[in-house]
Symmetry: C2
Subunit: 187 residues, 2 copies
């Protein structure tokens, strides 16, 4: 049996990782969005690309998260969602999310962000009203969860760039693939 | 006369700013480069776009730098270069650069980076050998310096992604525009 470890707190976790200036990150992300708008023209296409970028990034970040957080297997989707909200967001963005609005089955919930480093200094021009500026974030969640065998659909339901009072993404678990091990528990 | 303040140390400065996870930044930047390679096809065009993105970012970051660093006017290009190397790089990337290889006129020098958060996990495929992966950084330097009235040319002369032993960019001051004030010193 492996030694038991205690999961780190979000603050300890964030303090333990290499970091860069948030404004540099925000401006760099803004440069991507601007570039995609120029290259792809259709806002819908930009939304898709941002989601796909996020998916690829999330699929990579989950490894760093599991390696550094000391989090062991989450028993269910609820525990997974709480872990992402309190530790995952903190470790990568330095903020935490609130998990809320669970459905009766415990398979759909919302992540609510009041502070979102991605959107500092951002204003959407009138021509970009259909733009899902933060789609990279929902893509990250989708990509990271798929790597731990949870297929999800993630959609934005509130967006401060469109005048809402917070950022809220809805995460729906559509399929959970049981993990198979090449070894037995008592190996 | 404004009150005299002492410039912060690089470490204090970096500790004082909002930060995000470096791996998230690295992967996000990698996603931009990949996207540009797909969209633009020509490596030369990608190099230009990365430089232009950097220029735009640098022109914005210089404000945050001046606001937070307590650095007052640098007396010459040499002092400016030292300030960028010790404080600018630290504030935004969490690393410092070495300033070296000054020419006799004191108008051209090199920034040498041994640690470069932009390139963690990056390997250039054979098809991208002409890619200047870190062109965003040289663009940032050029953009930031132009905002403080120094026109420069910045080129990469060593690149670890191409097998060199460090990252070295050559910064050449081509024109220094005297700043004009709308007010007198004793206003």
């Amino acid at each position: 049996m492996p030694p038991l470890t205690t999961p780190k707190s979000g603050d300890a976790l964030f303090a333990s990782v290499e970091r860069v200036n948030a404004e540099l990150f925000t401006l760099t992300y803004g440069a991507i969005v601007r570039q995609l708008l120029t290259d792809l023209e259709e806002v819908e296409e930009v939304n898709k690309q941002l989601d796909q970028m996020g998916y690829n990034i999330g699929a990579r970040l989950v490894d760093e998260f599991l390696a550094k957080s000391n989090v062991s297997r989450c028993v269910n989707f609820k525990e997974t969602a709480d872990t992402i909200a309190k530790l995952g967001f903190k470790m990568f963005l330095g903020v935490t999310a609130t998990v809320t609005n669970w459905d009766a089955e415990g398979t759909t919930c919302s992540f609510v962000l009041e502070d979102n480093p991605l959107v500092d200094f951002v204003e959407l021009p009138d021509t970009c009203q259909g733009l899902q500026y933060c789609n990279v974030l929902s893509g990250v969640i989708r990509g990271a969860l798929e790597m731990v065998s949870m297929k999800t659909e993630v959609t934005w339901v509130r967006d401060m760039l469109r005048g809402d009072d917070a950022y809220e993404m809805r995460v729906k678990l559509t399929k959970q693939v049981p993990e198979e091990y090449p070894y037995k528990d008592d190996d």
